[in-house]
């Protein structure tokens, strides 16, 4: 069974990367867009008055841009993971190949969920690394790499997997959920901004932001890479307790949503119908 699981996982990863390769032009177009967003947003940070008066100094501050990268690259990863999972699954539903995938004797969570998660993960990793690389060409990204950063990084990956599974479950039932998907992703991005000291947010905003999947992990990542503080502080933005609880809650909710979505689709007979 372990061998079969390995074969199935490898199979999905291979297929995912093969599809990514066939979409290489689209990915190449997306890559500079993400980097451009960071490079354009960087000079505007902390320049509210200058923006109003129209006298923006378009120089990049290495420290501020580095913080921006630490906020935005995880978000790109999260965004790509969720979006890739959604579009690939929808594509398979529309093509009808999803039903063939479900004819596999291997467990559906392995071939329809786990395999896709890993495939999207690798593809997304390339885009996130590419964005980081492009920004680094224009301005040195100064972060104090610390082994402690591994924990929030893993939490970001787990949260992204959880939300992508929730999206997948919803896609199996309702199919065209891209508007909901985009709205959720936008909210995740906006609320995660309260984890970094770039934008002032009201107290209620900071409180609510704990419930979103990336906030505390990005906060913890900031702590590990830019401060001398330990990441084991239990509470507050980036606190260990909310980070772990929220991350695993999203993973659990994702597994539940996918299982439920699959059951409903099979009961309704709409697994391959769009």
């Amino acid at each position: 069974m372990i061998t079969n699981a390995g074969i199935a996982l490898g199979n999905e990863v291979r297929k995912g990367l093969r599809f990514a390769w066939s979409e290489r032009l689209q990915i190449l177009i997306e890559l500079p867009m993400f980097a451009t967003f960071i490079l354009l947003l960087g000079p505007l940070l902390g320049q509210g008055r200058q923006v109003v008066t129209g006298n923006v100094d378009w120089t990049l501050d290495a420290h501020l841009t580095s913080i921006l990268v630490v906020w935005f690259v995880p978000f790109i990863f999260f965004y790509m993971q969720v979006v890739k999972m959604f579009w690939r699954l929808l594509g398979e539903i529309q093509a009808g190949t999803i039903e063939q995938v479900y004819l596999s004797p291997l467990p559906s969570w392995l071939v329809a969920a786990a395999g896709r998660v890993v495939a999207a993960f690798l593809e997304t990793l390339i885009v996130a690394a590419g964005t980081y690389g492009i920004v680094s060409i224009f301005i040195p990204v100064r972060v104090d790499w610390d082994i402690a950063a591994l924990l929030p990084t893993v939490m970001i990956v787990i949260a992204a997997i959880g939300v992508s599974l929730m999206t997948a479950g919803a896609t199996l039932i309702w199919k065209r959920i891209q508007l909901v998907n985009d709205t959720v992703l936008l909210l995740v991005m906006l609320f995660s901004a309260s984890a970094i000291p770039l934008i002032d947010v009201p107290g209620w905003w900071a409180d609510v932001s704990h419930a979103f999947p990336l906030t505390d992990a990005i906060g913890s990542l900031y702590t590990a890479l830019f401060t001398d503080q330990p990441i084991t502080t239990p509470w507050g933005i980036g606190g260990l307790v909310p980070m772990v609880i929220v991350t695993f809650a999203y993973l659990g909710a994702g597994i539940l949503a996918f299982t439920l979505g699959e059951r409903v689709a099979k009961r309704r007979g709409t697994l391959g119908r769009h």
């Binding site: 074969i7 291979r14 039903e99 995938v101 004819l103 291997l106 467990p107 697994l271």
Partner: protein, 324 residues
């Protein structure tokens, strides 16, 4: 130990929707298909054929009953049950268009838990036999519809499953491609001894390929017999009379319900029943009008006629079944 039946449906039924407007797609159905049999599931659109096929494959959850494949329950022993089947599903691409034929076969082989080395020889054999070998590395999306369907069949067969579910495998194919697919199904059934569940609207193909026919109407199997027996059961001997030229004065001499097929230089008249008096009267009129008689034949009804009769006859429901 090999189980007696390849496929066993026990009280299998499906209701879609809940609340005020539930729709019964398949009434509780019990059916057993022995190994090596080709069973044609025939019925008009919406009769429940595809739902049955998908319930057999575990793609639709039944409301009632169970499916066993080679003795394995699809719901409880899914891994063993699904290993028995390959499927070409209706209205689906079945295979990935951006991938090549070779990549598709390797993908679907591995999806079923086989290693690449195990499936390579089978992939080569299938692609060669289906005349796809020279184009094996081209994306399937660039293939004609017929070639794509061949890849879908090859993908369904990559692990050499003993049971094949073929839902409208010739749908949308041109005559030549449909013939190739049909020949291949025939080969699978006769040469390789596969158990095949076939749905198709091409009744001529169904008659040719299937050893047994089950006709479904409104989710209920209204006839289930070996093909020969089904035809015999409805084998009303009818007469066809062919005369040279147009119908002319014979028009008024035809009994009610006679079918007239006018061709370029002849006219074929099919009498509505096997009543010899009607035939004698018609022949007398042919002689009277000095029409040139070309032939008189006994016509055995084909599956299409039987099918239409069964579908249009409300009294038939539940009558034309035999324990198989």
């Amino acid at each position: 130990m090999k189980h007696d039946s390849a496929i066993e449906l026990s009280g299998l039924g499906k209701v879609y929707g809940r609340g005020k407007s539930p729709f019964t797609a398949v009434e509780p159905t019990t059916l057993s298909v022995p190994w090596g049999q080709v069973i044609g599931l025939l019925g008009p659109n919406g009769a429940g054929k595809t739902t049955i096929i998908k319930m057999i494959g575990g793609l639709v959850t039944p409301t009632w009953g169970s499916v066993r494949l080679g003795g394995h329950d699809v719901a409880r022993q899914r891994r063993h049950a699904v290993r028995q089947i390959g499927a070409v599903l209706e209205g689906s691409r079945n295979v990935y268009w951006p991938l090549s034929a070779w990549e598709n076969l390797m993908y679907f082989g591995r999806l079923k838990g086989r290693r690449s080395a195990e499936i390579k020889p089978r992939a080569q054999q299938l692609l060669t036999e289906l005349s796809l070998w020279p184009r094996r590395h081209q994306p399937v999306g660039s293939f004609s519809r017929g070639m794509q369907q061949k890849v879908a069949i090859a993908a369904a067969l990559i692990t050499d499953p003993p049971i094949l579910l073929l839902d409208e495998p010739t749908l949308g194919l041109d005559v030549e491609a449909a013939r190739t697919v049909k020949d291949w199904i025939d080969h699978l059934a006769r040469q390789e001894g596969k158990t095949v569940v076939l749905t198709t609207h091409q009744l001529e193909a169904a008659q040719e390929l299937s050893g047994r026919i089950a006709v479904i109407k409104d989710g209920q199997i209204i006839a289930d017999l070996p093909t020969g027996q089904l035809l015999d059961r409805y084998a009303e001997t009818r007469y066809t009379v062919t005369v040279a030229g147009p119908l002319g004065g014979l028009d008024g001499a035809l009994p009610a319900g006679a079918q007239v097929d006018t061709r370029l230089d002849s006219t074929r008249i099919t009498l509505p029943s096997d009543n010899p008096d009607d035939l004698h009267k018609l022949l007398a009129h042919v002689q009277w009008h000095e029409a040139r008689l070309l032939s008189v034949n006994q016509a055995r009804p084909n599956l299409e006629e039987v099918f239409i009769r069964l579908i249009n006859d409300d009294q038939t429901a539940g009558q034309v079944k035999e324990r198989m």
